[in-house]
């Protein structure tokens, strides 16, 4: 690739103190083989326009903070290579389905609140004293939830989900997958505590299995699969309650 190749980033700008509606601004950045869209944005910030706002941290697909809409698709900008979009231009917009705070920065409170609602931590009926040692787990027991534990909370799945776009109350893909990450953990005893939120109308039943979340997920979490699985759990449970109403604890 020639040294002086360049590519245009068409970036959505929104500065609430000076404009009512988002506008577009184009920047030319070097097109290098090893450069990602995030590197392009960092070049803009460092050399062309220090006012551009966006989130990032790890630059290696771990922190989950650099999600944006690149050419219409939700992506981690630190994993999206500029050369894949050559000759450009590359459209960079904030993540869809979230309110925009400024430029490429979105408001994530809704997701954060939903996350705590599903109690994504290990719940025990009784805490075991430290001196009784650890909770051993077999490789099979770990495999039961490992895939769901790969989630980095990047919210690409929410940006991709058409149900969340229509119904912001939907608990959503990552939160349900994370609830399953703990429900399926042999050390956890909290599935009853998560049931009300998960099996509510805004929980798994809002999902119509479009599957865009799984396509968008950069970590192979398969939230759509997690939701389907929980639908079966919840449906079997209701069937039991219906046929065996006195069998509940």
């Amino acid at each position: 690739m020639p040294e002086n190749d360049r590519i245009t980033l068409r970036v959505a700008r929104y500065r609430p103190e000076q404009e009512m509606e988002p506008t577009w601004q184009s920047y030319e950045v070097p097109l290098r083989k090893e450069w990602t869209v995030l590197d392009g944005l960092n070049h803009v910030k460092d050399h062309l326009d220090g006012t551009l706002s966006y989130r990032w941290s790890c630059r290696m697909g771990i922190c989950g903070s650099c999600g944006m809409t690149v050419n219409g698709e939700p992506q981690l900008t630190c994993s999206a290579f500029l050369t894949d979009f050559a000759p450009g231009p590359v459209r960079v917009e904030p993540l869809a389905n979230f309110p925009v705070v400024r430029d490429l920065v979105v408001e994530i409170d809704d997701f954060m609140n939903k996350l705590t609602e599903v109690k994504p931590w290990i719940i025990r009926a009784e805490d075991k004293p430290l001196d009784e040692g650890e909770f051993p787990q077999t490789p099979e027991e770990m495999d039961a939830y490992k895939q769901y534990s790969m989630c980095i909370n990047c919210m690409l799945c929410y940006a991709a989900c058409p149900v969340y776009a229509l119904d912001p109350d939907f608990v959503g893909p990552a939160a349900i997958a994370l609830a399953q990450r703990y429900n399926l953990d042999s050390r956890d005893e909290g599935s009853a505590d998560r049931r009300d939120v998960l099996s509510s109308a805004a929980g798994v039943w809002a999902c119509t299995l479009v599957g865009e979340c799984t396509t968008a997920c950069p970590k192979g979490v398969d939230p759509a699969g997690a939701i389907q699985r929980y639908k079966l759990t919840a449906a079997t449970r209701s069937l039991k309650d219906l046929l065996w109403p006195w069998g509940q604890r």
Binding site: L166, D167, A201, W205, T208, S238, L239, D241, Q248
Partner: protein
Amino acid sequence: MARRSPEPLLWLLFSAGGMAAALLVPVLLFLFGIAFPLGWLSAPDHTHLLSVLRHPATKVILFGLCLLCLFHWAHRFRYTLYDGLRLKNLSLVISLFCYGGAVAGSVAAGVVLFRI
């Protein structure tokens, strides 16, 4: 127990319907729509077919297939109207139409089948 929402049961019917349709309908379509008319397989004669149809097991299976397929349709069509056409505010009417339609269709299928 918190609330008794019919959603889980409707979803079970929907899933079972999808499964039943995917497994049985292609076989029936292949036999009666392609293989028999084209003479790939020799078609059973009318009296034979009628006696198969009159067997209680056949009736139960066909009735189950019709019912499940109709409930599968109802659930999917309800969400198509909700989300596709953004008609969620008409949810009561839509639910009555979809699931009512499935019930009516199942009754009709039952009447046809059990009268044979």
